[in-house]
């Protein structure tokens, strides 16, 4: 059905890998940050919230450039990471970092809402039954928020799949290493006669994103049913 060239299949596979790794690694941090924002008051909360949402409003090229400054081989963190054997610039791992940063606001936003929807009175009840904070979170808050957490992860995955600006700025557009679907489409539209190939990738991108949104919506609805306990 899709007579894609090996390079284009590579771009699709790479996109899926980058998005999956980005989501998997940002999920634990996302849950922790969302819990902090939903349940705790602390100095600097508004600032933390603003910083997390920053990639949503900054031009992606700015985020990509900031990542390059921080995580490039000569960057503040990049040089240190390289000394322990992790190189991000111009590697697919760097693309995953860019995608994780760009999709983090969506991830945290969705999880925060689902944690806020968990009745705190149930957490109080767990405490009177002998559950400390960690157990209360593990046995009450987390399971009740789980459908929302999955929905948030799916949404972040879809967002990561479509990331372009920050990724291309940070790790460039190297076929087989950092050329994701978006970058491949961009490249194809820049060469004469590439339009029909680009269109096939566009169809794939739309299909994957649509599927992710439907899955996300389905889990969101499950969350409601679960909290009502039927």
């Amino acid at each position: 059905m899709f007579d894609l060239s090996p390079e284009e299949w590579t771009a699709v596979a790479l996109s899926l890998r980058v998005a999956a790794v980005a989501t998997a690694f940002s999920l634990p941090l996302g849950i922790a940050v969302a819990w902090l924002l939903a349940r705790k008051n602390f100095p600097g909360k508004a600032l933390l919230n603003a910083i997390i949402y920053l990639p949503l409003v900054l031009p992606p090229v700015v985020t990509g450039y900031l990542l390059l400054i921080a995580f490039g081989r000569r960057g503040i963190f990049g040089a240190w990471l390289e000394s322990i054997g992790i190189v991000l610039s111009f590697r697919w791992t760097g693309a995953a970092v860019a995608c994780a940063v760009m999709s983090f606001p969506l991830l945290v936003g969705a999880i925060r809402l689902s944690i806020e929807a968990v009745d705190r009175k149930l957490e109080d009840a767990a405490a009177t039954l002998g559950a400390n904070r960690a157990w209360t979170f593990a046995t009450v808050t987390l399971p009740l928020a789980l459908p929302g957490i999955i929905a948030g992860a799916v949404l972040a995955f879809a967002r990561a799949l479509g990331e372009f600006g920050a990724t291309i700025t940070f790790v460039s557009n190297i076929p087989g290493e950092t050329q994701t679907i978006s970058a491949a489409i961009y490249t194809l539209t820049q060469v004469p006669g590439g339009d029909s190939q680009a269109l096939k990738l566009v169809v794939i991108a739309v299909a994957i994103s649509l599927l992710a949104l439907i899955v996300s919506e389905w889990f969101g609805r499950r969350a409601g049913a679960r909290i009502h306990g039927v």
């Binding site: 109080d124 009840a125 009177t128 009740l144 306990g229």
Partner: protein, 221 residues
């Protein structure tokens, strides 16, 4: 034996309550807004008093003077809330077992069966809380609190959300519980009939203060 002597400023409302409860049922009686629920919340460790002391069976669980504040999960106080608060994602059986699991007590099939029979909830154990009636939910909540083997029970208007018919269905279970377990209980209510039936001591609250305390004959007029 429980000793409560606490103050707390809640917005414009000043709560200042001192009373003692012995074994048996002590009723905290008063109109809504008199501070009853805040008092039991402080005994349970869910609300921190501004100042004062709470002593249960000789153990100081709160003392502002010495900086003692035992967290709620280590107080071993059963709490039945007005709205039940069963965990909606767990079956009735898992709800009932939750306190035992969290406190690390060994499984006690005999006690489980005893409590389930006492409250007639055996047919409900495989259901989800969402599929229970209000009265069934409160019986399960009562069982859940009992099965963690508490040293004190707090019953916060456990019948208030039920209609009159359901109330009369549940009330006998509370009587059974009182006579069967000999567990000290604090029963919060604004219903004089319930209190006269269940309690042997009454602490009358109004506007965040103890008006008087004594036997149930206080409510006769």
């Amino acid at each position: 034996m429980i000793l409560v002597d606490i103050d707390k400023q809640l917005g414009d409302f000043a709560l200042s309550v001192t009373f003692q409860g012995d074994s048996g049922v002590t009723a905290l009686f008063g109109p809504s807004g008199s501070g009853k629920t805040s008092v039991v919340g402080m005994i349970a460790g869910l609300i921190r008093p501004g100042r004062g002391r709470i002593v249960i069976d000789g153990e100081i669980v709160f003392d502002s003077g010495n900086g003692i504040d035992v967290p709620a999960h280590r107080r071993r106080i059963g709490y039945v809330f007005q709205d039940g608060r069963l965990f909606p994602h767990m079956s009735v059986a898992r709800n009932l077992d939750y306190g035992r699991w969290m406190t690390g007590l060994p499984r006690d099939e005999a006690q489980f069966k005893h409590v389930v029979d006492l409250l007639d909830i055996a047919p409900l154990v495989d259901r989800r809380p969402g599929a229970l009636s209000g009265g069934e939910r409160q019986r399960v909540a009562l069982g859940r609190a009992l099965l963690m083997k508490p040293r004190l029970m707090l019953l916060d208007e456990p019948l208030a959300s039920l209609d009159a018919r359901r109330k009369s269905e549940i009330l006998p279970y509370f009587l059974r519980l009182r006579d069967d377990t000999k567990l000290p209980m604090i029963y919060v209510s604004h219903d004089a009939g319930e209190v006269k039936l269940l309690a042997n001591r009454v602490v009358l609250l109004d506007g965040g203060r103890v008006v008087t305390s004594g036997g149930v004959e206080l409510l006769s007029h």
